[in-house]
Subunit: 567 residues, 2 copies
């Protein structure tokens, strides 16, 4: 494996050996290490000193179910802190097959042109993004596949990224060449634009799967893991409903974000639920598909294709986070409308969580009426046109609140919360508050923990292990749902590592990786100027009770401040 370093000013590629300290890391952990070693924490996120880094997780490259994810990172222009966003799709697998341990994109372009960077074992080629600039993500991906062939992996940005919107992500094509796998959070699409890149094409021709030290042991461990995953009851649930199993569950906890996080239940939950969606898709048929895999080899198939009444795909996938943030959070109970909003956000290349939250604050500030799907869809046109309002919405929830003088903004470190209300699931509130990434459920969701989610006491002890596990999975390249398998067959992680790399890994290797990763991220953020004062939920959530159960967020500041003390 090598480090590939791209300088966008000189348009050169350098291939370097992997430094000793980077060898045993991948994905999110490796990003944190590279950030600490190379990126000045006080740098301007959209300036020449920031870097955009791609790193597949440690287990990527062999189609172990749900473990071929790509981590993308840099300094976030949204939070000002360290950022890792990960995604499924092809990119991780292709990079592993090309022997790229990490791709580091650095410096500043000389002109204002956007480029397509084509990487293959023969090196780097640069082509102006003519015919692509300004194009939506779907058409861009189609054209890139036409130009570069059906076998490549592609990471690309949309019009939102090109406009350097702080909610812009980086999309990756999936096994069907649909560009719907977005490293969504924290504005990395804007960083990619600041480097002058519309797309990176990974052509793995001539590449091969990474070497395995002990193939027999590897296959054995993989089999154990897959069996555990297949037999886990959650897997079956997610196979039927995907993440859309969630609306009824969060509703039950009074934790379904509704109308800009002002209520925890939504009167139209039935029509946005996974059960309803599955029935709808089965009835509609055509391109509709309630169970769909995002990566080759995945056995969970949590994804879906949401087709309209005519059976044609509206968007793929429609996930719970989007349904929560662009549905109940906007007072919208119609899945077809939500699916159209989702397609627009995808095509613009924007994070549906941040955008849904921004729209929620906008509605709360009088920009449009909650429940008015047509108005919400028109706002997507404003974003595409780059009008002042469109640009503001693309800049995320925090800025909408500041511009409209509205303090009711569900963000931490200026990043929007996911679709779990922290007053009603306080452990997840602790995660939102304390993770170095800014509010993010994938940094440690606690909804399945067997605790009283309304109790303010002890939630740090619920959040911390979840945070460590997730940072570990993100370092391995494993999907959050792979956790169902690893939880039941925990020895399979050190076994897979030992078999692939020959490293002796301890039984708690997942937590070891998670601990090391979070430590590095916290250190980087500290050097960037973050303090404990940044580890807080918005003040109004500590003051305003959340109907119907009326909790406030009352986990003590001391608990928040000491959560990592024994890290």
């Amino acid at each position: 494996m090598q480090i590939w370093r791209i300088n966008v000013r000189t348009q050169t590629l350098t291939k370097e050996p992997v430094p000793a300290g980077w060898e045993k890391l991948g994905g999110r952990g490796l990003l944190a290490r590279i950030m600490l070693d190379e990126v000045p924490p006080t740098c301007e996120p959209l300036g020449p000193r920031n870097k955009l880094i791609f790193a597949p997780g440690l287990l990527v490259g062999h189609m172990i179910s749900s473990t071929d994810r790509i981590s993308i990172g840099g300094k976030s222009p949204l939070t000002g802190g360290i950022k890792e966003a990960n995604a499924g799709g092809r990119t991780g697998m292709h990079m592993a097959m090309m022997g790229i341990k990490a791709l580091i994109v650095e410096d500043f372009p000389l002109g204002k042109d956007l480029w397509v960077l084509h990487l293959s074992l023969e090196g780097a080629k640069w082509q102006k993004a003519e015919g692509l600039t300004g194009l939506g993500v779907y058409d861009s991906a189609k054209e890139l596949v036409r130009r570069y062939g059906e076998k490549v992996a592609i990471s690309l940005i949309g019009p939102g990224g090109e406009m350097k919107m702080l909610s812009a992500g980086i999309q990756n094509i999936d096994k069907d060449r649909i560009p719907s796998r977005i490293a969504a959070r924290g504005g990395l699409g804007a960083v990619m634009a600041s480097k002058g890149l519309k797309a990176i094409v990974f052509d793995n021709a001539g590449g091969q799967k990474p070497p395995i030290q002990n193939l027999e042991a590897f296959r054995r461990a993989q089999k154990d893991f897959t069996a555990a995953l297949m037999n886990h009851p959650q897997t079956a649930l997610y196979r039927d409903y995907g993440t859309q199993a969630m609306p009824q569950m969060t509703q039950g906890f009074g934790a379904l974000p509704t109308r800009n996080f002002s209520q925890g239940t939504f009167e139209q939950v039935e029509t946005i639920s996974g059960e309803h969606m599955r029935d709808l898709l089965l009835k509609r048929g055509g391109e509709s598909d309630p169970t769909h895999a995002c990566m080759a080899g995945c056995t969970i198939r949590c994804s879906n294709v949401f087709g309209g009444e005519d059976g044609k795909s509206i968007v793929s996938p429609l996930e719970y986070e989007t349904v929560g943030l662009m549905g109940s959070n906007l007072g919208i109970g119609d899945l077809d409308v939500i699916a159209r909003l989702n397609w627009q956000a995808n095509d613009l290349g924007l994070d549906t969580i941040e955008l849904g939250a921004a729209l929620g604050v906008a509605a709360d500030s009088g920009v449009f009426a909650f429940g008015d799907g047509d108005a919400a869809l028109k706002l997507m046109d404003e974003i595409r046109a780059g009008t002042p309002l469109g640009r503001l919405l693309g800049a995320g929830a925090g800025l909408v609140g500041k511009v409209y003088g509205n303090e009711r903004v569900p963000v931490v470190k200026n990043q929007a919360m996911s679709a779990y209300e922290p007053r009603a699931i306080k452990g997840t509130g602790v995660t939102y508050a304390t993770t170095p990434q800014g509010a993010d459920h994938t940094c440690g969701l606690t909804i399945r923990a067997k605790v009283n989610h309304l109790d303010p006491l002890g939630q740090a002890k619920v959040s911390l292990p979840a945070q460590l596990n997730m940072a570990g999975y993100d370092t391995l390249g494993a999907c959050i749902f792979a956790g169902f398998g690893f939880a039941t067959a925990p020895t399979s992680i050190p076994e897979l590592i030992k078999a692939r790399y020959g490293w002796d890994a301890p039984a708690d290797y997942l937590q070891v990786l998670g601990r090391e990763t979070i430590k590095m991220e916290r250190e980087w953020n500290k050097q960037a100027g973050f303090t404990k004062k940044d580890d807080r939920l918005p003040e109004y959530m500590t003051r305003e009770p959340l109907p119907p159960n009326n909790p406030v967020f009352d986990v003590s500041e001391e608990e928040l401040d000491t959560i990592y003390d024994d890290l």
Copy 2:
């Protein structure tokens, strides 16, 4: 003297004795003390835990020339840090005559109505701001004077404040009842709106000047100070040109902000200079007045009335900061256009520095063309109408940059720089970077220091004494120009203090006050989460040379980090 405490929820006034630790402070120093004692540094600036505080300086109440200023403060919604903004006009004098050492406005209003709070020796009266809400500052002030009489002092906000714009200030009427004395910086107008207040009326009927321990000594010291002030050569200069003496001077240093701080000289400097302005006003006559006093008793009369060709006043005053930020910084060389922009900003109740900088970033981002005065004036209409673009501009330069993905934003702690380019006057750059207030020339301008302003070495030693002096003046209630007198007759400060209060003050009392004030402000900001990383100029200024002399800002981070070490 008493502390008057207003609860906006219960609409009650409590009069309290002055706590021991507050007695020997006034103005900016007293604000810092109250903030430390009462306002949680992590509070939401527009939430119920923030407070809005008014405090006249220690020397206010006897019409000593240029020393009757009012300090207004709280947690800034613009910077997130401690904020003191001060102004001339009547408010300080009236409060002193009413025996109010500080007015503390706290809590949250129950409804969404705006109110007029009338304070007199008889107590507090509340009246709904009917007929005033949405009205510009000039018409609001006129109507308030009609309702409450010609003798009152008034602090009020305009439509910008009502919309909680982060560049909204609080205006004070002057001796002519013109509401042009704005405590401009840091968004305190938005804080006032969040407390449900459109205006505070100070009715000093029955009040009297504060007691003086030794009247004879007081008169003697006052005479010394006034003589020193009158004889100072700068006083004569400011009497002729006011702050408008500056454009030719900053142009000479290559430090006149031009086209969003991208150049240090402006090819149309002649037509925005003080010399040109004075000639113009003398020629035009009518209401035009090149030398005008903002407070009763001021002998400098640095202010002016800018009349149009028909002799009718366009705006009063037109100051250098506005000419720099809304003139050269926007590529506009026509004083009549600048005066109209200034009137609009005043009537909206916005800080012309922040707004000029926001317009500069907007022009730099393609929103309108540099030099297009008509377009700039139309944008003022957008602000008044509260359109998304108008609201964004009102939110200040930093947010415009974030929304347009433009890193070329002249702010520190999210507050816009004044009309002194820090690459060309590096001592002032050190002040911008390190003052707890965010970029602000009134916290320590160094342009008159006899040093090489382009030399990166030793600038902390130039900035620090200027910062201490200014914090001292702001605590005394003295205008920056009073410094000309105090510098020549330095003993007059301890003499005035001793005569008025009976306190033995050391010879360096000004610096003692300044030191104590800045220490408290830094402590508060630290508790709010500020670190050394916040004491930085924008990265592009350390990278992009400034024509024509092509300096970058290259004062070392170590120098910035150690400036207060011996405080």
